[in-house]
């Protein structure tokens, strides 16, 4: 109920939607036959609410849109919203509740990698579908999960390439929050940089606790590291809230993007909404979508989003686009399969194509990742990003990094091999061999 309370102030649109959910849930079994239920598993309270509440709203909007078009297979879609409250074990519990009690056809949700890992066993055991919309560290491919966010080769690697080629960076600070996503990404990046001929002494790796707010020492270390006469850049996997004090400290100590640029993988429009971005101008972010990208699809999406939230200032961001793609792919797969039966939809999904919001057409790959374009944007004074570089084509997501020992020989293919971690050297599916 706390979650529903949270929505109440989000404008009447959301309130009405929330009321609709409560209403339909109250009507019970008789009506359940006529609708297809879709689970939304995003934290509406606790630390992650800052990022995940928006995704819940985006999903409600997409479902409302689809219902206006007549739903799916002639039935209306019905959103079932639960609040896992930024509590990882609760994610698993709520996922189980969605699947067994509400009998949802698919679930859209999770943000942090640890929440995804927490729900994995549930989705495998109960054979349901999870669409995961956030960029993550890779090294995973599960039959029941579809990864619509970026894998490391769709965000981290191109960003490093950009800095090395365009900004001529030779010294690298890999700064991150101390948990699985930054640690794995930095491991991949370190291996990649070394393969590009960067020496170990030109790489500085630094981890900080969640919510770190006193950046004085680290920023002065970065300053020192950057004074070796070689161009230096920071690759930041610092998570959410800790970013603001980090950028503030950078500008306090007089480090501007012109001296030491920071490229961030977790800073988007939503994160910048609460801060004065003028001192940040020129720092970079790598994403597969920016709100500022000028395409008819994107304009249309933003207009609908503003109309839905009744707030012309609400921003859109990359994970929202990932849900947009994922949701539409699911709809197409259900229509192709002619049923919401999970096995058939899982089989139908690879190969489904869906236009993304940046002018390309993303495709679901056999490894359950999608093809995405990569954009590098510079932060502007108004909290938006100016795209300064983009890949020519869409990049297919790689579940297993080709730069890590133990992972480079693995491939994921659920169509031909029916395996998420097939070892091409030993010629065996590791998960089946267990």
């Amino acid at each position: 109920m706390l979650g529903l309370l949270g929505q109440a102030t989000k404008g009447f649109g959301a309130l009405a939607a929330a009321a609709a959910i409560v209403g339909t849930m109250g009507m019970g079994v008789a009506k359940a036959q006529e609708t297809i239920k879709v689970g939304i598993l995003h934290s509406l309270s606790g630390t992650m609410a800052i990022s995940e509440t928006t995704l819940k709203d985006a999903m409600l909007m997409l479902i409302e849109e689809q219902n206006k078009k007549g739903g799916v297979l002639g039935k209306k879609l019905e959103a079932v919203v639960v609040d896992p409250a930024s509590n990882w074990p609760l994610f698993a519990e709520k996922a189980r509740e969605l699947i067994t009690k509400d009998k949802v056809a698919a679930v859209f949700g999770c943000w942090t990698s640890v929440s995804r890992k927490s729900v994995l066993p549930v989705f495998k055991e109960l054979n349901n579908i999870l669409f995961y919309p956030v960029q993550y560290e890779g090294e995973e491919s599960e039959r029941n999960v579809f990864y619509t966010g970026a894998a490391p080769n769709q965000q981290a690697i191109p960003a490093v390439d950009y800095l090395a080629n365009e900004e001529k960076v030779e010294r690298w600070v890999l700064a991150g929050t101390d948990y699985v996503y930054p640690r794995t990404t930095n491991k991949i990046l370190e291996a990649y940089l070394k393969s590009r001929g960067v020496k170990a002494e030109d790489i500085m790796i630094n981890y900080t606790p969640f919510g770190h707010s006193d950046w004085q020492t680290i920023v002065s270390d970065i300053k020192k590291f950057g004074s070796a006469g070689k161009k230096t850049a920071v690759v930041s996997t610092i998570n959410g809230d800790a970013n603001v004090p980090f950028y503030k400290e950078l500008s306090n100590q007089g480090i501007s993007a012109k001296d030491i640029p920071v490229v961030a993988f977790s800073v988007g429009e939503e994160e910048l909404a609460g801060i004065d971005t003028k001192p940040l101008a020129g720092h970079l972010a790598a994403w597969n979508y920016f709100m500022s990208i000028d395409t008819p699809e994107n304009k249309d999406f933003i207009a609908k989003w503003h109309a839905y939230t009744k707030d012309p200032k609400r921003v859109t961001n990359d994970p929202m686009e990932a849900h947009y793609i994922g949701f539409n792919m699911w709809v197409k797969a259900v229509e192709k399969a002619g049923t919401t039966d999970q096995d058939k939809v899982i089989a139908a999904l690879p190969g489904i194509k869906q236009a993304n919001l940046t002018g390309g057409v993303s495709e679901m790959l056999p490894n359950h990742h999608i093809t995405k374009p990569v954009f590098i944007g510079e932060i502007e004074g108004n909290g938006q990003f100016d795209v300064v570089w983009k890949t020519k084509d869409l990049i297919p997501g790689e579940a297993w990094s080709r730069y890590l020992e133990g992972s480079k020989s693995l491939v994921a293919d659920w169509v031909k091999l029916n395996c998420g971690n097939f070892d091409t050297v030993k010629n065996v599916c590791l998960s089946a061999a267990k």
Partner: protein
């Protein structure tokens, strides 16, 4: 940071004398200047290509012309006012008065409708700095000249050498002259055709700077430099690094004081509610958070109705935050905590519940995202003490934390309320027998502690995110400080906060942020084993119960 935020009108006023000065300086190159107009229009046309490398090339060429219109174009590009027509490839500058032609500065009567901005990325911005550095070395304003010298020092643009030398000859302000000479040295060091002796002198000049920039410059000496030069640079780097080592310790101590002041601010309210009253107050962090949101509301109001008062917003927010969180505190005490005195476990659970309710309430009212709290102008920026850069916001927070601490001490030691509080804390029944309304004092004490937490929130809004989760980050640290310093003793809180702050910051460079924090917690656990009552033990209700 060096974006030269000069209003356009001023820029135009400055441009004329600049032109005159440049003409005087560049007389030897006067022949080139005669065709200046033609040259610059050819260069300016490159801006219409909408390519970062063309823009950068054009900037380099512009700074070499030294014309006043070039300075105006560079300035406009830096400020995002340089426009081009995608159809005709004509380049314009948008000024408040209207659109002017970029190459000539002549006003354009009917500018094309769909002008696009010439875009800039970091490389372009660096080139803008370098170009405007070279173009404003002779600016009448010493601050601009000093900035320009620093920009040239960074860009080491050999083309600017003649201008730098001319500027040195004219310079009268000592500090600017020094900066200019450093800029000259930075250029000379890297030039192969300069005599070795001159380059050696230049190296000495750079060593005298004694900072990270100097090391950076010395390290980037070209590989083909003569051996004597390399040796001098090596020796210089060693010398500067030695010097910086001393400053690094000073800097860590300063950072420690700064972290200590934040800990003190966060813990000081808890020193009352937990330290003096013995209530395990898990909602303490949310009082800090409410204080920060009060600041946001005050600033929001000021932005919309009285922008002139913005620099006073924190001063206005302080009493309001104190009153608001104090009242919330009294409300919590009267409705929840007073029924739970002497039952620490239930108090812990109840106040934790209260903290969740407050968080979600704020999330519902303001939304889950961060709110922007701006810094008044007197809290922005930094100044330099030797190699130590001290930021104003950190300095003011240290001062503010100490002020709050001593004010609180004064209240407890010198006012009737303080007397009652101490009486009730030391012996409740005796105090009641003397006619003190202990229930009322409990409520007021809790209100006081909460109010102090609220004004801590006003200060912390300057350095942390104002979000519903703000308080959670401080609750553990606050308990740590109060327990370590000695429950019930304000001086213990002061000493505890600064000890932990400095210890943390001295550990961090060696152990890293994560391990440093762990080591600190281990140390506190061991310390509490040895001295369960903290640094300064005191008798109080917590001791009795």
């Amino acid at each position: 940071m060096m974006r030269l935020p000069v209003p356009p009108a001023l820029a135009r006023i400055l441009a004329l004398p600049l032109l005159a000065l440049l003409l005087a300086v560049l007389l030897p190159a006067g022949a080139a200047h005669a065709q200046g107009q033609a040259d610059i229009s050819a260069i300016v046309a490159k801006f219409a290509n909408d390519s970062y490398s063309d823009t950068t090339d054009a900037l380099v060429e512009l700074s070499a012309t030294g014309s006043a219109q070039a300075a105006a174009v560079v300035e406009a590009l830096g400020a995002g006012r340089l426009m081009f027509d995608p159809a005709t490839k004509a380049v314009f500058i948008r000024t408040p008065a209207g659109v002017v032609d970029a190459a000539t500065g002549a006003a354009v009567a009917n500018p094309p409708a769909n002008l696009s901005v010439v875009r800039a990325n970091n490389r372009v911005r660096r080139a803008v700095d370098a170009a405007s550095g070279a173009l404003s070395l002779l600016n009448p304003d010493p601050v601009r000249r000093s900035e320009a010298a620093a920009a040239v020092f960074k860009s080491r643009d050999a083309a600017a050498l003649a201008t730098v030398e001319a500027a040195i000859a004219k310079e009268t302000v000592g500090s600017v002259k020094e900066a200019l000479e450093q800029a000259r040295a930075a250029i000379l060091v890297g030039k192969a055709e300069v005599p070795e002796a001159v380059r050696l002198l230049a190296i000495q000049k750079i060593i005298a700077r004694g900072d990270q920039e100097a090391i950076s410059l010395l390290r980037s000496l070209p590989a083909d430099a003569p051996a004597s030069l390399k040796a001098a640079a090596e020796a210089g780097i060693a010398k500067v690094e030695q010097n910086l080592k001393f400053w690094a310790v000073a800097q860590n101590v300063w950072y420690g004081l700064s972290l200590g002041s934040v800990l003190l601010l966060a813990a000081i309210g808890l020193a009352i509610t937990f330290g003096v009253m013995g209530v395990i107050n898990m909602a303490h962090g949310e009082m800090v958070m409410l204080g920060a949101y009060t600041t946001f509301v005050v600033q929001d109001f000021i932005r919309h109705s009285a922008p002139g008062l913005f620099d006073w917003s924190l001063a206005i927010a302080l009493p309001l935050a104190f009153l608001f969180t104090g009242l919330v505190g009294i409300l919590i005490e009267r409705t929840v905590i007073r029924f739970l005195y002497g039952r620490p476990l239930e108090t812990l659970l109840a106040t934790w519940g209260v903290s969740l309710i407050l968080q979600q309430a704020v999330r519902s009212v303001f939304g889950p995202t961060n709110q922007e709290v701006g810094a008044p102008s007197w809290m922005s920026g930094a100044f330099q003490v030797g190699q130590l850069s001290i930021t104003y916001n950190r300095l003011w927070i240290i001062v503010f934390a100490l002020l709050v601490f001593f004010a609180l001490l004064l209240v407890l030691k010198r006012t009737p309320l303080g007397l009652y509080v101490r009486a009730v804390t030391q012996n409740r029944r005796m105090a009641a027998a003397m006619g003190i309304r202990t229930g009322r004092i409990d409520a007021l004490t809790f209100g006081l502690g909460s109010g102090i937490a609220g004004i801590a929130g006003v200060a912390l809004s300057q350095i942390d995110n104002v979000s519903p989760n703000l308080g959670q980050g401080y609750i553990i640290d606050s308990f740590m400080v109060v327990v370590f310093g000695g429950v019930g003793n304000l001086w213990g809180t002061l000493v505890g906060a600064f000890t932990l702050g400095i210890a943390n910051k001295l550990l961090e460079p060696f152990a890293g942020a994560v391990l440093g924090k762990i080591l600190l917690l281990v140390f506190i656990i061991l310390f509490i084993q040895k001295r369960p009552r903290g640094l300064f033990a005191l008798k109080g209700r917590a001791v009795e119960s």
